[in-house]
Amino acid sequence: MSPKVSIDAVGKVFGTGAKEYLAIDRIDLMIGTNEFVSIVGTSGCGKSTLLNMVGGLTEPTFGDIRIDGQPVAGPGRDRGFVFQGYSLFEWLTVEGNIRFALEKTALSKPEKTELVREFIQSVGLAGFEDAYPRQLSGGMRQRVAIARALVYKPSLLLMDEPFGALDAQTRGMMQELLLKVWDEHKVTVLFVTHDVEEAIFLADRVVVLASRPGRLKRIVPVSLGRPRHFDVVTSPEFSDLKRQILADIREETLKVMALDGA
């Protein structure tokens, strides 16, 4: 079976002239259909840049990224994006925000209404259709963002630290919600986070990136069963994975600190 996403010797150079530097150095990665892959690494390792390149928001300086065998040329509606901030359209209601994502589709008006209703239901926001984003809590806002990113049925969902701004309790609830939605809608997910526990809890594989330049350090398969219950984080298996990944990241952090002369 051909991979959903193939990242082939991809690199990124930032800046020009004397400020030019290699941010990402030849990353190779294959992601299977309906797989859930988390990407972790120290800050500045290029994990968001890698995600943006898959999303078509920024171009790789070298190498190839293919989705379903097709080279990525700019953003497209085969991919949904959820950003770290609450990037909602504040002047539209919950319903309006989700409907906005359907505007470039050929669906009829009743079809759109039905889809929007289905996704509001799916992320647990029934009853809040007419609320404006500023009236919602952080967790609810991210639910709108998830619904908006999925309503047009992309096959690949890209998430850039989507729960980074949430408190620990809400974050846990959102992780479970995300797994439920992922299971319901059968999408491939690429999930960037700096939270190792979150990365393991959600993913089939955790990709650990090395820093300066961003490079593949290790790919850790997560063999915990599904559906996953929140108390899996206390299992010995989970702890082993966590210890291993944290050690990798610590090594990278020390390397970066040494480079900075700290």
């Binding site: 999303g55 078509g56 700019g74 953003p75 497209g76 950003f83 901030g85 990037s87």
Partner: protein, 285 residues
């Protein structure tokens, strides 16, 4: 969304005794809330105290009326201008100049500011020039403005335009730059074109900020009124004050100044009011 238990309910059930509730009071605690009534009346007390001091000083003859006329003679002057109708003539012509001058500045500043906020090329090309131009003393441009625009209303409007335009352009640029980059990215991932993102995402997102810029800049336009009516004006609120200076009519000067301030305040309140109506979705307005 849950409703927290009300104090009245708790008191009725005997769980809370209102008489023993500790409530911290005091008006001078750092950053602490004070009763609304106190907050609002404080705003009236200060002007009334000033008015009182003014009355006392003039009634006791501590200052010559030439330097500071009594509040009463200022009110008499106000009545004279109202009853003869010259106040309304002045206000009408000045308001006309303000509105046209400000609108002209807005019509040019908004598109340029939007381009500068979105495209680095425009910012690089125009920002140094505009940043320099905004420090130009507008008064110094009066002779040129007369040469270019004559001595009619056009010249007054040109002065008001020059006083407002440069600042406004830079402020609109900042309003546009301040919107969340992820909104634009979201638009790109949803398949919208650059023009659509500009019209349907950037503009609505920046609009509350731009509206605030409108409110602030039209206030500045009012302060430029005197400069605009300095030369070759027959009428206008600013002109009236300049004429009064020639005859040392200090009551006219004080009334005119207060009245311009009042009109500026009214404009500000109107913008605030409509801003709140237009942008209900925006937080804390």
């Amino acid at each position: 969304m849950t409703v927290p238990p009300s104090v009245a309910e708790a008191a009725a059930q005997g769980r809370v005794d209102r008489r023993t509730l500790r409530r911290r009071t005091g008006l001078m605690r750092l950053r602490e809330a004070i009763p609304d009534s106190v907050f609002t009346s404080a705003g009236f007390v200060v002007p009334l105290l000033l008015l009182f001091a003014w009355s006392v000083v003039t009634a006791l003859g501590l200052v010559k009326p030439l330097f500071l006329p009594s509040p009463l003679s200022v009110i008499e002057e106000a009545w004279r201008q109202v009853s003869t109708g010259i106040l309304f003539q002045d206000a009408a012509i000045s308001t006309y100049r303000i509105v046209v001058g400000w609108l002209a500045a807005t019509v040019v500043a908004v598109p340029i500011g939007i381009m500068m906020g979105n495209f680095r090329l425009f910012e690089g090309a125009l920002e140094p020039l505009i940043s320099t131009a905004r420090y130009m003393p507008v008064v110094a441009l009066i002779p040129l403005s007369v040469l270019w625009a004559g001595i009619g209303d056009e010249q007054k409007i040109l002065i008001l335009f020059l006083g407002t335009f440069f600042q406004m352009t830079l402020m609109v640029m900042d309003n546009v730059k301040n919107i969340d980059m992820n909104l634009i990215r979201a638009g790109q991932t949803l398949g919208f074109s650059n023009a659509e993102i500009l019209w349907r995402i950037i503009l609505p997102a920046a609009l509350p900020g731009i509206w605030d810029t409108f409110r602030i800049t039209i206030g500045w336009t009012w302060t430029y009124l005197l400069v605009a009516e300095l030369v070759a004006a027959q009428s206008g609120l600013g002109r009236r004050i300049m004429d009064a200076q020639r005859y040392l009519a200090t009551d006219t000067i004080i009334f005119g100044t207060l009245f311009i301030g009042l009109l500026g305040l009214v404009t500000d309140l109107l913008f605030k009011h409509f801003g709140r109506k237009l942008f209900r979705w925006a937080a804390d307005r």
